[in-house]
Every structure is written in C-alpha cells, then in structure tokens.
C-alpha cells in the first residue's frame, strides 16, 4: 500500500512568535515548562506519520493531546508552524487558496464531533452541501445526496431539519454529507463521541460496513480506547502533542513502547485484540499424510491422545482421534489465524480436543487448548 497522507516533522505552536518553540532548548522541554517559560502552547510537536490508502487510521489521546489540531492540518484548516503534510503528493501548506479548495472538495471530507449541520437546511440539502459548493447541478447533487442518505439508513427523513432529528440521525446526516462527495479520504473528528453508547456502537459497525463495501482512507480521531481498538487498522497514541507509539492495536497492546502506552492500554479488553495465531502452541503430535497411508496409525493413536494430519506442504488435512477415527479438515472445527481470542472462546471451550489454527494458505499454525487460551489471558 502506498502512503496517501504523509506527515513530516509537523509542529503547531499557538502564541506570539511560535517559531521560538522550535529551537533546541525549547524542544527538550515538556508542554508545561514551555508554556511557563515562553507563554506558547505547543499543540502538535514533531509528529511524523504516514497513512496508507484504504486503512482506518485512528489517532488517539486524551483531550488536549493535539489530535484535533493534527487532523485540521491534514486538510489545511490550520496551517502548521513547521513541517509539512503531503496528501497524494501535494504539500498542503504550499497550495494556493483555490487549489486547496479543490483538494478539499475532491479528495477529503470531514465529519465533526458537534455534527456541524446547517440548521436552516434540510437533511437532503445538508447532504448535498459539498456537491453544491463543487458546482454540481441541482438535480444531480440531490440525487447523489439521496443515495448517500439511503446508504446511512436515512432514506425517509430527507426533508427534515437537523433540529427535528436525534443526535444519532444528525451524525448520519453528517456522514452522508461526507459520503455524497465520494472522497478517497475521510477525516472524522471524534465523530461518534457525542453519541449514546448504543448508537455509537451502531455507527461504528455501519462505518466498518461502509469501509468493507468501498475502502477509503479514514483518519479517525478518538479518545475512546475501545473505539480505537475496534475500528483502527493502526493506532497512533498521542500525548501532549507527541506521538507515543504508532502501530496495530496488537502491537500497542503486546509491545508497548513505554510505560505510558502500557498504562493507557491496561484497561483494554485484550481478548478482543489478540488473535489466536499468536497464542497457538505447536501440536503434541503431527502426522504426515503419507505416513498415514502406510497404515502406521496404531502406534500414534496408542501413544497420544490426538494427532493433526498434514501433507508435505504443511497444509492441514484433518485430525486423527484416539480411537483411530479421522475427522477430515472440512468437517472438523478449526480457527482461522485472524480470529480474536474472544471469538474463539466458545469453540475452544466446548471442543473435545485442542482446536487447530489455520493460516490463510491452509497451513497448520498450531493448536489451541482451553488451558492455553486461559494462560494467554494471564500473560498477555
């Protein structure tokens, strides 16, 4: 995947003569010390990230960590003090006003925490706003806006004003307004934070469904750890304007770069992040298919409880039970590598033998027993 958004040594400092914060002495200070000595507020400090096409990239941090400022520098609503954001090869801070407007209209749409719907426009007119600005003829833009609203499940509320809609519905309109432009990049600023937990869950699922239908690059700002873990292909954890660590949810959980990251992730439900391939153990006994054909099954089944059957390429073929009976691969239970521990629990707990874990190429990765599963939860 090619990087679509490149963020290179980006700084944003608020205050008079913000470039003062960039000298070596100030760079070594933390945010509080910098503010006390110079009166400057550093919102984003030396952030370098690269976001690939088609991934959901979550920027996570507590409020005041600079994540919203970072997002606004991607579409140029805020200009950086130093560094550069490059979107599809175009450096944002060097674009002329007209070019920047065109880039915003064609390449990226934004969804806001406060919904930011226009109160005097109906849901349909709100959804058509981006197209209206881009100069699309009325009939065509209303058509597209209607399609976008139907996609988020608001096909029946086209003519209602924002104030007549519930919070969840309002944010669906906000989402439809962004989707109507069919942008390759979606910027979501705490888009679901103002919603009830139940609605939030629903919206997250809807976003994942939309993403499965037609993948976009989504930069998602969140302060909710569970949301970040559920949505993010990768997560960048920010604190006081700096990125503490950037990686997949599993990397952040299993290999935290420092104590702060570990502290942040201590409450995360590990079972819904860790996948079974990382905790699978090598099976107690493996039989090659060729050996099995040579009728040597008895010696295995007598000595061992159970054995996995593979062919010469390590492809999983089935399970040999103690009584000599063979369960072929397509009939017996098995787990794919990317299954989370949470999803695997029921199957593993109820199976009479350790469940084989199979990779995407059908090869046997290992087996997982209830005991192994429990220990993985303790050790992490």
């Amino acid at each position: 995947m090619t990087p679509q958004i490149n963020i290179d040594k980006l700084w944003k400092v608020f205050g008079e003569h913000p470039e003062r914060a960039l000298d070596d002495l100030c760079q070594s200070m933390d945010a509080e010390e910098l503010n006390a000595r110079t009166g400057l507020k550093a919102a984003v400090r030396d952030v370098t990230l690269s976001i690939s096409s088609g991934e959901i990239f979550v920027v996570m941090g507590l409020s005041g960590s600079g994540k919203s400022t970072l997002l606004r520098m991607i579409n140029g609503l805020i200009l950086p003090t130093a560094g550069e954001v490059t979107v599809e090869g175009k450096p944002i801070s060097q674009l002329a006003a007209a070019e920047l407007q065109k880039l915003r209209s064609n390449k990226m749409a934004m969804v806001f925490q406060s919904f930011a719907l226009f109160p005097q426009r109906t849901a349909l007119e709100n959804a058509a706003f981006g197209l209206e600005v881009a100069g699309v003829p009325r009939q065509k833009r209303l058509e597209k806006a209607r399609e976008a609203l139907e996609r988020v499940g608001l096909g029946k509320d086209l003519d209602r004003l924002p104030q007549q809609l519930s919070g969840g519905m309002q944010q669906r309109v906000g989402l439809a307004r962004a989707l109507a432009l069919d942008p390759p990049i979606l910027l979501m600023d705490e888009a679901f934070s103002a919603l009830d937990p139940l609605i939030r869950r629903e919206m997250q699922e809807q976003l994942l469904e939309l993403q499965a239908e037609s993948p976009r690059t989504i930069v998602f700002i969140s302060h909710d750890l569970d949301e970040a873990v559920r949505l993010g292909d990768r997560i960048a954890l920010m604190k006081e304007g700096k990125v503490l660590q950037c990686g997949t949810p599993r990397e952040l959980l299993c290999k935290p770069a420092n104590e702060q990251v570990r502290h942040f992730f201590q409450d995360v439900d590990a079972a819904s992040v860790i996948t079974v391939d990382t905790v699978a153990e090598s099976p107690a006994c493996v039989i090659n298919q060729a050996e099995l054909l040579l009728q040597q099954t008895d010696q295995y089944s007598k000595a061992q409880k159970i054995a996995c059957i593979i062919d010469e390429n390590n492809v999983f073929k089935g399970v040999l039970q103690q009584n000599g009976e063979i369960i072929p691969a397509e009939k017996g239970p098995a787990l794919t590598a990317e299954t989370t521990i949470r999803d695997a629990m029921e199957l593993v707990a109820n199976a009479p033998y350790p469940i084989p874990v199979i990779g995407s190429d059908q090869r046997l990765i290992g087996v997982i027993s209830p005991r192994r599963l429990l220990r993985s939860m303790i050790l992490r």
């Binding site: 609503l77 407007q101 406060s114 226009f118 005097q120 706003f129 981006g130 600005v133 881009a134």
Partner: protein, 304 residues
C-alpha cells in the same frame, strides 16, 4: 490673559472647530454641487414614487390590505387590531400625513439597508474595517438627532430630501451592528464545515455565514425601520412633512389635542411596522412554501 478668556467665551456660537466645519461645508457647496443635485433627484424620485404607490389604493382598500398582510404574517387578532388602528387614523383625518410619513420611512430604510448591510458584512470579515466603522457608529448613535438636520439643510435646503438623508444616517447603525454581530456569531464549527467542504470565501459568505446570520440581521432591519420612524417625526422640523408636522404644529400652537392625535397616529404606525417586520425575521426559520402559507391563511377563515 483675562482678555483672551473673555474672547473664548464670547465666541460660544462658533469656535475654531465649528469654523473649520463651516468652511468645509462651504467648499463642498461651491465645488460639489452636481453631486448634491444627483443625490437630490435620486432621493426625491424614490420617496416620491413610494408615496405615489401608497396613495394609489384608497384608504378603504389599503387598510384591509395591510390587515390581510398582518393576518398572514402575524395573527388574526393583530389584523383586527391594526384595522381598528388604521380606521382611527382615518377618523382623525390624518391618513394623508401618515402615508407621507410611511413613504419617507420606507425610502430612508431602503437606503439605510442598502448601505448598512454591506458595511456590516465587510466589518465582520475584516477586523481593521470594523476598527474604523465601530467608532463611526458610536458617533452616529451618540450624536443628538437634531445635529444631523443642520448639514442636511445646508446641502439640500428643506423638504423631503434632507429629511430622508438625516433619517437614513440616524437609522443606519443598528443594521450595521446587528449584521456584524450576526455574522460573527455563526458557530465556528459551521465555518469549519464550510471550509472543509471546499468553500471559497464568497461561498462561505453566501452559503454559510449569511443564512445563519439572517435572524440577527432581520432584527437589525426591524430596529432600523423603527429608528427611521422616530427620526422622520423629528425631521418634520426641516420640512419632512407627514405626521411629524402635525405633532410640531401641536407643540408650536400649544394645542395638546392636535399633538396627541399626531402622536397617537405615530404609535399606531409604529406598532404595525414593528410587528410586521418582526414577523419577517421569524418566518425564515419556519420554512413554509408559499402554497403551504396560503393554505394556512385560508384555514384561518374556514376553521374559525
């Protein structure tokens, strides 16, 4: 020393500042006469045309028309009230003065809005323009209303034109201020949303800022019209004519009854204008199409 002080006090009528002003006015009178002539003709034409239009329908036609407008925009009870009020004006024999006052108010308000709204918009978008307009507005609002009459008379003599000009200057500040306020009060996230979806500065103004500022802006329009009405009465001192004339005659002749009648007619006109313009401000949020409004209006008669 004593002599100098005496000199200063002796010239209370015009000091050096006043003298400068007089010279400026003289210079303008001598050199800019064509401009004043154009302005004179334009305003005279506008105010005259409006008065002509308002006199075309006879009182028995215009009063019900206003009542229908009131029933449509405000309420049925207000329509009845305004019909009663207009009948009272007619009964007092003040219909024609009221029409000329109304014509002056409308002419001055149109001009004040045409000038004031753009100034308000520019001030809201450029902070340094606001730095200039703000003290000017303060000055315009604190200056006693009578002061505007003097230069107006100097440039345009007496009559309808100087009255309109004095009125438009006096009534302009609220619409400038409230246009400025309305645009500045548009929530920052709506501005951000506009920008994020690729608005140019012009699109931001027309599609985001003005629609959201409209209720506040309309409150400014209402205030401007009300101030214009109050100033038109004062402007009768320089020959504005209309109801102000009636009040002025009442004062000059110490005729309490005449003064009261003129005052009462002004109040009736003020109440009707106020409620009607307020309803314009409110209706922008209810967003009913014209057929819907017509239906609601006919329902008034069929249901009750």
């Amino acid at each position: 020393m004593k002599y100098v002080i005496c000199q200063v006090f002796a010239t209370v009528s015009t000091g050096p500042v006043g003298e400068g002003m007089t010279k400026t006015v003289d210079w303008l009178l001598n050199h800019a006469q064509p401009i004043f002539l154009v302005i004179d003709h334009a305003i005279n034409g506008l105010a005259g045309a409006i008065e002509q239009i308002l006199t075309v329908p006879a009182p028995w036609l215009l009063a019900p028309l206003i009542a229908i407008l009131a029933a449509w925009r405000v309420s049925l009870s207000f329509a009845i009230l305004s019909l009663l009020g207009l009948n009272l004006v007619l009964f007092m024999g003040l219909w024609q003065p009221m029409i000329s006052t109304l014509a002056l108010v409308i002419a001055a308000s149109i001009l004040a809005l045409l000038i004031g709204i753009p100034i308000g918009i520019f001030s809201a978008r450029r902070q340094h323009i606001w730095a200039i307009t703000r003290p000017v507005l303060d000055l315009m609002q604190t200056m006693p209303a009578f002061v505007y009459l003097i230069p107006a008379v100097m440039f345009f003599g007496t009559g309808r034109v100087p009255s309109t000009i004095a009125t438009l200057i006096f009534s302009m500040p609220p619409v400038v201020r409230l246009t400025y306020l309305g645009i500045r009060q548009v929530p920052i996230d709506l501005i951000e949303a506009g920008r994020a979806f690729g608005c140019s500065e012009r699109q931001l103004l027309w599609k985001v800022q003005l629609p959201n500022a409209l209720p506040t802006l309309m409150a400014g329009v209402n205030q401007t019209i009300m101030l214009a009405l109050s100033m038109v009465v004062i402007a009768s001192m320089i020959g504005g004519g209309g109801l102000g004339d009636v009040v002025l005659r009442g004062i000059q002749q110490l005729d309490v009854g005449l003064g009261f009648e003129g005052g009462l007619a002004v109040v009736i006109l003020a109440v009707i204008l106020d409620r009607l313009t307020q309803s314009l401000a409110a209706s922008n949020f209810s967003r009913k199409s014209l057929p819907q409004r017509f239906k609601a209006f006919t329902n008034l008669w069929t249901s009750s």
